[in-house]
């Protein structure tokens, strides 16, 4: 159990209003089923169940296609881009922040990356230059967010809202409202569509980013500081943690994730466009919150976020399989968000409260 001393540890969630005396029932005192429920399996139990229900509905409504390997890959591919963004968002939200700009930053990164690819010089340069440029755009935008939030003391919601609007506009100016084809970068397109062990490159990227995010959050001092800042910013500051610098890095990481997602879009659609990634920030936030991360910060898991992303991707797929309109799908999404959050709160009840 030693790995569970970190973020979102195996301790029961204790709501802030619960007086200490009522939460003294420990995990050890609790019956077995409760120990399982409050362990890592239990914390994601609601998510597992929700995913299971969706899979059953999907399998029942489209029995021929839904459970096929190729359809599962479609779902995962669908999940991968928003998934990468959601990992960065998870870290930001655990630290008590929010990043509304990720969708726009993705768009900007895809446009700048595409511009780098269609320059005359591009023929002589390796496609990795384009990738690095796109990632750099993401990191730069993230740093900008972080500086304004941490050192300018601007509320994260407003600072990143400004970036949401500004980055999208900047992308439009650069792209001149055209769609920039990067199909000429054959090697890049080939690479991004590589199939390793029957799994798409996009899915591999999502997997790698998720694992890295998990390691960062659960195994490093950086992750520990992130949880501490989200749990009690003042206590973190008074313990000598450089909170402002840390917060700045967190937004840079979120920006990097948006940049990675921008590259993924380039690879998948072979085009950089200023409209790429619109409203993706909301999908990411929904996935993170449905995944059990508290919007007030201090508690959250990367695993939960991955589940959240998969739930929404599966939902979309079920609707597509049944030829239902995207409007109906949007309504269902809204309902699911509310139900999932309500369920999360129920499962997250500390053991001491109910006994």
């Amino acid at each position: 159990m030693s790995e569970q001393t970190t973020a979102g540890a195996d301790t029961p969630l204790t709501s802030t209003d619960a007086p200490p005396t009522t939460s003294t029932v420990t995990v050890e005192d609790a019956p077995l089923w409760r120990r399982i429920l409050s362990g890592s399996v239990g914390r994601n139990m609601g998510l597992v169940l929700a995913l299971l229900v969706l899979v059953i509905v999907g399998a029942a409504s489209a029995p021929d296609t839904f459970l096929g390997l190729s359809n599962i890959m479609v779902i995962l591919r669908q999940a991968s881009i928003v998934g990468v963004i959601s990992i960065g968002m998870t870290l930001v939200i655990i630290a008590g922040g929010i990043d509304l700009s990720v969708g726009s930053v993705l768009g900007l990164a895809s446009v700048v990356g595409a511009l780098a690819a269609v320059q005359d010089l591009a023929d002589q340069t390796h496609w990795i230059v384009m990738v690095i440029v796109a990632l750099a755009v993401g990191v730069f935008a993230g740093f900008l967010n972080g500086i304004v939030i941490a050192y300018g003391n601007v509320v994260a919601f407003m600072a990143t809202l400004a970036m949401l609007v500004g980055a999208r506009g900047f992308a439009e100016i650069l792209a001149n409202r055209r769609t920039l084809q990067v199909g000429g970068q054959r090697e890049f397109i080939t690479f991004m569509n590589l199939d390793i062990l029957g799994v798409d490159m996009l899915i591999w990227i999502f997997l790698v980013v998720s694992v890295l995010g998990w390691v960062l959050l659960n195994r490093t001092t950086f992750g520990r500081r992130t949880v501490a800042i989200g749990g009690n910013r003042e206590a973190a500051r008074l313990a000598g943690i450089n909170v402002k610098r840390h917060v700045m890095y967190l937004y840079a990481i979120s920006g990097l994730c948006a940049g990675i997602a921008g590259v993924m879009i380039l690879g998948r659609t072979t085009a950089g466009a200023s409209v790429n990634g619109q409203l993706l920030e909301l999908d990411a936030i929904a996935a993170v919150v449905v995944g059990g991360t508290l919007l007030i910060g201090g508690r959250g898991t990367v695993t939960g976020t991955v589940f959240g992303v998969l739930i929404f991707a599966t939902l979309t797929n079920v609707f597509v399989q049944n030829n239902m309109s995207s409007s109906v799908q949007a309504v269902a999404k809204g309902v699911i968000i509310v139900i999932a959050v309500l369920l999360q709160q129920r499962f997250a009840r500390p053991a001491g409260r109910t006994s």
Partner: protein
Amino acid sequence: MTKSFAGVRALRGVDLDVRPAEVHCILGQNGAGKSTLIKTLAGVHRPDAGEIRWDGAIVDIPDPDAGLALGIATMYQELDVVDGLTVAENIFLGHELSRGGFTRRGEAARRTRELLRRLGHGSLSPHAEVGQLSAANKQIVAMARALSHEVKLIIMDEPSAVLDSHEVQNLFGVVRELTAAGIAVVYITHRLEEIRQIGDRITVLKDGRTTATGLPVADTPTPDLIRLMTGRDVANVFPPSSPPAADAPVVLDVRDLSLRDVFEDVSFQVRAGEVVGLAGLVGSGRSEILETVYGARRATSGTVTVADRPLRRGSVVDAVAAGVGLSPEERKSQGLVLDEPIAMNVTLPSMSRFSRGGFLDFRGERAAAREQIEALELRPADPDRPARTLSGGNQQKILLARWLVHGTRVLLLDEPTRGVDVGARAEIYALIRRLAAEGNAVVVVSSEIEEVIGLADTVLVVAEGRILSTLPSSEIDEHGVLDLVMKGTAA
């Protein structure tokens, strides 16, 4: 009108009777249970035992609305006015005058003017935004709100804390008018001179008990009141102090430190092995001095030097790197990440030492936490237990363990025993002494003067952001400190 209780958790047997048209003062040190008492009267807390009688009948006050319905209004210390609303809107907040769902702004303004006139503040506009008002005027608004109900009793929790002396006189004028109209006032304070001016009778609280009730102000000499407030029987728990050798090096050197509008030109030195205590009332600037030394607040001028190394102003990171540790005043909101385990809270400042290449060394961390748990007899002895589930005393031990693990030269302890029961206090006192004996320069702030004197080798008396005197703890007692503070404040 009689009220008596026994045994609310923070209160252990309080008797209080208030008569119509009197000013009944409640006197007590911080943590004596004053605030809990008034919250019980107002219906925020419910007594575990005992009864409240109102006009002779036993009443139950389940919530603040019920209190108001009986005619009990409360003005809390932290003025609960809404800054964004106007004076009139604040006064009728929660019981707005309306007809068919529409507010009657004209009528509200008219009645507001009437209330303000009654309080002698007719010049205040009902349409002024409360956020723009001075603290004194906000208090008038809070009082007008209390009067907008049919009240027979107004409870005022340290109303003078935010006022200057001229404004306090105004407040007294208002209080006298209220009593002239037959309204009883419960006036909570720890300023003795105010009681002399305004009070009719006094009830003294100490450690959640009444040590005296209904004493007539006129016949009770001040020394008796101080004794009733302070006479604690824990004097013997202080470990023997061992003053540092005369040639011990100065570790902490604070020179002419100022923080605008809070404190000015504070200078003191602390040698290795020495415990220096800051004694003073709430609002004297004690905690702010500590936080500024630590860099948590940015000094407007002055220097802090730790072992010949000047600290960067306003940088906690620099202070911690120089070997300074702070145990903050508000343990829960400033000290601990409550939902996280003991181990993480202990290693928070030193986690880079429990990591390799940025990766955490969980085994080493837990071993260090366990070692401290053993050494400090932290209970429960489980490094995985969330900090929230521990008692105040054990939470305090986490904060001390934190700096023991980190290794410090200077320890700043703000209210190290607030909310800690008597048994655990003795342990914490011994621990503080041990930390000093190990060569730390220790600065202790406490609102319990006896604690400062009992723990410290040297006592600095602070009032209104200035150090009034610096004395060896053997040459001053609690009365002496209070005397100095009263004189210093009056001047």
